[in-house]
């Protein structure tokens, strides 16, 4: 399985990420794009702000890739891209693309990739409203990861 991981301050290139997993042996490419919703519980969201612990985030993406290669050995390509900084409403903040011979494993691996990312990737998102901001917490977060917390 080949992989391509990117954590970037700039806009994400959806076609580029999808193209990076394209392969003539693939019968399917599954893509998940996370985008910025315009409201949260009725409040208008101005934009999102993301920040990361970049070296650990890159290592964590490699680990997610290793898990996918073990669970779906038929996977041909995996690409994950996460944007940092300010992301406006309607824009893409995260992309997961998986190519495989058939769609079922492509869908399954893609869903696993975004689910794991939300549980373990050291990235933090602030929802900014007109009257302030709130740091979000993913319900999937695995605090017990790697032993008991201090």
């Amino acid at each position: 399985m080949r992989t391509e991981f990117e954590i970037t301050d700039g806009p994400l290139d959806v076609a580029g990420v999808v193209g990076s997993v394209a392969d003539t042996a693939a019968g399917a490419i599954a893509v998940f794009a996370g985008t910025t919703r315009k409201s949260f519980e009725g409040k208008a969201v101005r934009h999102l702000e993301y920040e990361a612990y970049a070296p650990l985030a890159e290592r964590t993406l490699q680990e997610i890739g290793t898990e996918i290669a073990l669970k779906w050995p038929q996977t041909i390509g995996l690409a994950i891209a996460h944007r940092l900084g300010t992301v406006d409403v309607g824009e893409v903040s995260v992309l997961v693309a998986v190519s495989a011979p058939h769609r079922r494993e492509a869908f399954a691996a893609c869903e696993y990739g975004i689910d794991r990312l939300k549980a373990v990737l050291p990235v933090w998102k602030k929802e900014v409203f007109v009257d302030g901001g709130v740091w979000k917490e993913n319900p999937e977060w695995e605090r017990e990861r790697g032993g008991e917390p201090p």
Partner: protein, 85 residues
């Protein structure tokens, strides 16, 4: 008598905002452990204390337990609840 050791702790997202800085240096008596770093952070940055109880400590990009020992050259970071995606 143990020699104080300076440990630099990286702070991100809500932890950075609560502490008002993206990194902080803790002077701690050796031997330094993860639990001691967390305790010292709570004292030095009371606004950070509630979040620390729900955070993890990472040393050299590895999640560690409370009794993990920390040296002066280690890269220490607080990982508050994540919210990527």
């Amino acid at each position: 008598m143990s020699t104080p050791s300076g440990v630099t702790v990286l702070l991100f997202g809500p932890a950075r905002e609560a502490a008002g800085c993206s990194q902080t240096v803790m002077e701690l008596p050796t031997p330094v452990t993860a639990a001691k770093v967390v305790d010292a952070l709570s004292t030095a940055h009371p606004n950070l204390a509630p979040l620390l109880g729900r955070s993890r400590l990472v040393v050299n990009q590895r999640y560690v337990d409370a009794d993990a020992s920390i040296g002066p050259d280690d890269e220490v970071a607080i990982i508050p609840p994540v919210s990527g995606g």
